[in-house]
């Protein structure tokens, strides 16, 4: 027979959990946004694959940048939510913020995986290698590992309050790696990685590697892709929070059935 921990500080209290009966307008909004995201995906794919012109130097491989850069933006939105949720948890000690934090990492990590994988698919034809020891690439790999470790380490702490406190602090500190990934090609000259938006030390006069604001629909396509991935990140996060709430409710129900609440 399973032995459940006795309820203590920070233990899941059944009465404090969301019932799962959310207001109808909120559920309708979530469904509406989800449908809009699906339609938006088609628009994003059409602009990225057909509407934007082909880059003269890089060919079709350049189109990977529309999802490579913008999935990073979407992942950053999710990881920023981890920071805010972590801060709110430390301030209020309410478990709903811990659930928001873990949900945001569960969404942000796959988005950053998209960034890593698509970057590799772009690097092969352009740099003639899938991966190289470049400061930007290394920083990205470290960032990905930090958030993967977040999930692993969370699972290693049993006490809910201690786990939430640890995760909040870790989530706030780990965001430094997201910022570093963004700024590294903007401050270092020893990186091969192009800066897609804005000037860089290697290309100070440019508006970005592909002259995103002026050239052949590239700027508009990048804007559409960025918007789509950020909205998709928020919609996925919303669903993920509901899942985390349901998981917490199931956990609390288990405790109640076992008579340990």
């Amino acid at each position: 027979m399973a032995i459940a921990q006795p309820a203590g500080e920070g233990q899941l209290a059944f009465a404090d959990l969301p019932s799962g009966n959310y207001p109808l307008w909120r559920t309708r909004l979530l469904y509406g946004l989800s449908a809009l995201t699906l339609v938006g995906m088609l628009l994003m794919l059409y602009t990225a694959l057909f509407w934007a012109g082909t880059d003269a130097v890089q060919g079709h491989a350049q189109r990977i940048f529309y999802i490579h850069v913008s999935s990073y933006a979407g992942g950053s939105v999710a990881f920023f939510v981890t920071v805010v949720a972590g801060g709110l948890y430390l301030f209020t000690r309410q478990m709903k913020y811990d659930r928001l934090a873990v949900a945001s990492v569960k969404v942000g990590l796959p988005l950053m995986t998209v960034t890593l994988v698509t970057g590799s698919a772009w690097a092969r034809p352009i740099w003639n290698t899938w991966w190289t020891a470049d400061p930007r690439l290394n920083a990205m790999a470290v960032m990905w590992l930090l958030y993967a470790a977040y999930m692993t380490l969370r699972g290693a702490i049993e006490h809910p309050d201690r786990r939430a406190r640890f995760a909040a602090v870790y989530g706030i500190l780990a965001f430094a790696s997201v910022v570093y990934v963004f700024i590294v090609p903007r401050i270092r000259t020893d990186t091969l990685h192009p800066v897609v938006i804005g000037p860089s030390p290697n290309n100070p006069m440019a508006n970005g590697e592909f002259e995103v604001r002026t050239d052949n629909h590239i700027g508009a396509t990048m804007g559409i892709a960025m918007t789509w991935w950020c909205v998709a990140s928020v919609v996925l996060l919303w669903w993920m929070v509901r899942l985390e709430n349901a998981a917490a409710r199931v956990q609390a129900l288990k405790m109640r059935v076992l008579g340990t609440e």
Partner: protein, 56 residues
């Protein structure tokens, strides 16, 4: 652009988009499956809790 030969590398573009699609699909499918499992577990536990209630 004059003097530039645009490379033919569409297969890498397809690879990148396909990989992104697979990752996103896995995320969504895993969420749907988890939601189903949660619902089934919650229903079973609620039934168990009902059965355990002392009769009035």
């Amino acid at each position: 652009m004059e003097g530039v030969t645009t490379p033919s590398n569409i297969e890498y573009m397809i690879l990148g988009y396909a990989a992104a699609g697979v990752i996103m699909l896995l995320l969504v499918v895993s969420m749907v499956l988890r939601a189903r499992r949660m619902r089934a577990e919650a229903e079973m536990l609620e039934k168990l809790a009902e059965d355990d209630k002392p009769e009035a």
